[in-house]
């Protein structure tokens, strides 16, 4: 990375803005007693877990437990969203009308209803009828929701690949499925990494909505911590920072992958 005069100016402006904000809060005399000192133990603490488990260890605090759950939900939902999205993306381009209609209906239905409503429907319907856990229901709702968007991205990716690629593959005797797997999809995925990354960052953030079905994710644990301590500012700032850690790491990882894949261009 190269730093130029322009980056220096940007930094100066940024510092000035921060200073102004700080000055504003101090002079307006917001009378709030910060309790940042109670945050570290919400991440990690050294001590016994409870009366039943008095052994002294380094343990995860309330927010870190939520962080791990959010990470788990995001990874599992992303995995299934990619599978759903790939299937839907291919189905949307099928020559078979029924397949095309069903996949379009799925995309339209999911994209045009709120995720929060979908989470409730899946949790209360699947949760009570099929007796699935809150984790399964919440993750499924997120995967189904993101899958619809990923499907559209995959479809656009496939359509962006020159027709000659499919023709060349078929002329060598490959079946449609083989051509998709070896020729079209690898090229399409490479091309759609930026929009996919955006979609999965959305998914990580949207995962905070599953807190409504009492799934102990980062948001839910944050709410619990606030209910217990009333340190709303400190805790929600920390929660936001933890989400940022997840999304920013993901963002950097995709940029790294993108650079690595650029070799053949």
């Amino acid at each position: 990375m190269r730093f130029t005069l322009r980056s220096l100016i940007t930094l100066v402006i940024l510092a000035a803005l921060l200073a102004a904000a700080y000055y504003f809060f101090i002079t307006r005399g917001i009378s709030y007693i910060w309790h940042w000192e109670s945050i570290p133990e919400m991440l990690f603490y050294y001590g016994p877990k409870s009366a039943e488990d008095p052994s002294v260890h380094l343990r995860m605090g309330i927010l870190m437990i939520g962080f791990v759950m959010t990470l788990k939900i995001s990874v599992v939902a992303t995995f299934f969203a990619i599978i759903i999205g790939t299937v839907v993306g291919i189905a949307r381009l099928s020559t078979e009308p029924i397949t095309r209609w069903i996949s379009s209906a799925y995309v339209e239905l999911i994209r045009n209803t709120p995720l929060l409503v979908q989470i409730y429907i899946i949790y209360f319907f699947a949760g009570s009828m099929l007796r699935v856990s809150a984790f399964a229901a919440g993750t499924a709702a997120l995967a189904i929701f993101a899958g619809a968007y990923v499907g559209e991205i995959v479809r656009a990716g496939i359509q962006s690949i020159d027709r000659g690629q499919m023709e060349a593959a078929r002329s060598l005797g490959m079946s449609y499925a083989q051509a998709m797997r070896h020729i079209i999809l690898p090229q399409a995925f490479k091309r759609i990494i930026p929009p996919l990354a955006g979609q999965f960052i959305s998914l990580i953030k949207d995962s905070s909505l599953v807190s409504v079905i009492a799934l102990a994710d980062l948001m839910f644990q944050g709410q619990q911590a606030v209910a217990r301590t009333y340190y709303a500012f400190e805790i929600y700032f920390t929660v936001a920072a933890l989400y940022l850690v997840l999304t920013f790491t993901f963002s950097m990882a995709t940029q790294f992958i993108e650079r690595r894949l650029r070799i053949s261009d």
Partner: protein
């Protein structure tokens, strides 16, 4: 080897205009024959090639490739395509694969050869088209002529019985046409059955057994390259030749 009987193929353009690409089209091409197809653009020559390996399905008529009637719905077209290699105007190499992988992929996936055998076949063919030293490069790092030679090697790696060339030199810079034509000439001399859509009359004269002149989906005139140079009969043929020679 290739037998077309009364083949019809009609296209509709996006603005719903009807284009008759092949009209009552019949031809028979024998094993080892090199047939050059010439004609103005839109005359149906590329469509004919693309029908041979059913990249386009014909509307009416019969098309028999290596004894298999490909208009029969039960025919496994992938099997037929294994025996018919095709070289495209825009090469259509797989940009995400190295030169070597471009040539081995279909052998492994379709012909089920093991990797070592596929690599051996690929190297021999890359050597033959004179581009072995680029085996680890990506297509984007090659010149047009080099890419087209890789594309020819890729098609040959399937050991096809028929090779189709769809304006294989039309997208090349003039100084690269020769290297691709040389590869094609060698192939013709080795006895490959070839159908070549091209405007390279030099190629036609040197290696073709027969030249077919097409217009509006029909064969207007047929004969040896010499016939076309010395005594074309149709006025349309004369006009066309005067434009390209």
């Amino acid at each position: 080897m290739i037998k077309a009987e009364h083949v019809y193929k009609t296209f509709y353009t996006p603005d719903h205009r009807k284009v008759e690409a092949l009209v009552d089209f019949s031809i028979e091409i024998h094993k080892g024959e090199v047939v050059v197809v010439i004609g103005p653009s839109g005359s149906g020559k590329s469509t004919f090639l693309r029908c041979i390996n059913r990249l386009e399905a014909i509307d009416k008529g019969k098309l028999i490739i290596d004894g298999v009637d490909i208009t029969d719905r039960r025919v496994n077209m992938n099997k037929v395509r294994e025996e018919v290699g095709m070289v495209f105007q825009h090469f259509n190499l797989f940009p995400h694969k190295t030169v070597l992988d471009n040539v081995t992929l279909a052998q492994i996936v379709v012909r089920k050869r093991d990797k070592a055998e596929a690599v051996e076949v690929a190297r021999a063919l890359l050597e033959k088209v004179g581009i072995l030293e680029k085996e680890n490069n990506y297509p984007s790092q090659l010149s047009g002529g080099q890419q087209q030679r890789v594309a020819i090697a890729r098609a040959l790696a399937m050991h096809p019985k028929i090779m189709l060339f769809d304006e294989a030199t039309s997208a090349l810079d003039p100084e690269m046409i020769g290297e691709v034509l040389d590869v094609m000439k060698n192939l013709a001399r080795e006895g490959m059955t070839m159908v070549v859509v091209t405007h390279e009359m030099g190629f036609a004269r040197e290696v073709s057994d027969r030249v077919v002149f097409m217009e509006d989906g029909r064969i207007i005139e047929e004969g040896t390259a010499e016939h076309f140079f010395t005594s074309p009969t149709s006025d349309r043929t004369k006009l066309f030749l005067s434009q390209i020679l």
